[in-house]
Amino acid sequence: MRIMRYAFVMMVIAGCALVAAVNALAEDWHNNIFSPGQLQPIDSVLKVKIGDPAPEFTLRALDGGTVSLSDFRGKKNVVISFVPAAWTPVCSGQWPGYNIAQKQFVKYDAVLLGITVDNIPTLYSWTKNMGKLWFPVLSDFWPHGKVAQSFGVLRSDGTTERALFVIDKQGIIRYIDVHDINERPILDDLIAALSRLSSGS
């Protein structure tokens, strides 16, 4: 009888320990971020310029489907956010910001597509710590970096630049920011670009 009581107490404690450990791991996201150190700010040569038609692509999305740039032709402006790699410092703190700026994108009739060269399982694991993202996350993993290559933002180490492209409803590139990979672009500039697009200037 005593043994049973001990066993019961231990099971309860083990349950608490498991739940606590899982919570602790979830809260410990900060410590799972890999720091690559200071990198060469830009390590690729753009293949597109403002006024060019954006290269067409179809990529696998995190939700299991696929997304093509042409899906939005004539319907929505498109913002493409290339971030260099999952589980790295600046990238991990870029999309969560866009996630609470949805109203700004909606205001300017734009969708956001987040793209990295990571595979789907990695993106799943990484982004689930960002809360529920309202925008599609796309994997340019295979053929590795093909879409990034077509825009000219694939770096020599196989990651991408930290780059933003705004593409209008006709599929024309209207804004490009290939940013210093070590720094986060401020939201002001991107939203100002969308605003200009909206006003036709």
């Binding site: 005593r2 043994i3 001990y6 066993a7 107490v9 231990m10 404690i13 083990a14 608490c16 320990a17 739940v19 606590a20 450990a21 919570n23 602790a24 809260e27 410990d28 996201w29 900060h30 703190g93 870029q94 969560p96 910001g97 996630n99 609470i100 700026a101 109203k103 700004q104 710590n129 960002m130 809360g131 986060r184 401020i186 939201l187 002001d188 939203i191």
Partner: protein, 212 residues
């Protein structure tokens, strides 16, 4: 044999108990940092730009309009500073609780004694406005795109909290620094009242009646 079994079970129970306590401590989401490295002199020199909104200036008790003000200018016994980043998922997760904390200060009658402000690390005015709008924040928050403010307040991750108390001689002292969020507004306020040695407010009941 039965005694041996009981001993083994007790040891196992002990190990599990320790694991649970350690896990629970971590899962609270913060680890207190008990190192108030800022001297009162350095703390008194921490300066911020005057808030543009009259409501924020009134809340902080800033009557003399200058381009900058120091923490010592804030009319309060205790100042709580949150260093946040609009892009930080943890800060987003903590935001509703921090806002509840702001309302709780008011609800429990400490609005004149405890002041809360936030500093958006590397955030522009537009970015902190986005953060404010998303979470309905009503306490003053300051943009800090060049890290001019947070550079004066040593910290590691965001969100990060400074709890500062005015001393009888008017100087300021860091009571506690804390990384990460907090479980509930009530627990955070109670902890602050305790470490600041502030008595429960006898008028809190009356103050509650007309507060949200």
């Amino acid at each position: 044999m039965a005694i041996q079994q009981q001993s083994v079970l007790r040891i196992l129970a002990g190990i599990l108990m320790l694991t649970a306590v350690a896990g629970c401590t971590l899962s609270r989401g913060y680890v207190p940092v008990a190192v108030p490295v800022l001297t009162p002199a350095a703390l008194s020199q921490v300066s911020l730009p005057q808030p543009a909104e009259a409501q924020s200036r009134a809340y902080l008790g800033l009557t003399d309009i200058q381009s900058l003000f120091s923490l010592a200018d804030i009319k309060a016994e205790v100042i709580v500073i949150e260093i946040f980043d609009m892009y930080c998922a943890y800060c987003q997760k903590a935001a509703p609780t921090v806002n509840q904390f702001y309302y709780l200060i008011e609800k429990r009658g400490y609005a004149d004694r405890i002041k809360l402000l936030g500093v958006g690390k590397l955030n522009s005015q537009f970015e902190i406005n986005t953060f404010r709008d998303e979470y309905g924040l009503e306490f003053p928050i300051f943009p800090d795109p060049q890290r001019k403010i947070v550079g004066q307040l040593p910290h590691d991750v965001t969100p990060y909290f400074y709890i500062i108390q005015r001393q009888p001689d008017g100087s300021l002292r860091v009571l506690q620094r804390q990384r990460g969020g907090f479980p509930t507004a009530e627990e955070f306020l109670d902890a602050i009242l305790k470490i600041a040695g502030m008595e429960p407010n006898p008028t809190a009941g009356q103050a509650n009646q007309n507060k949200r």
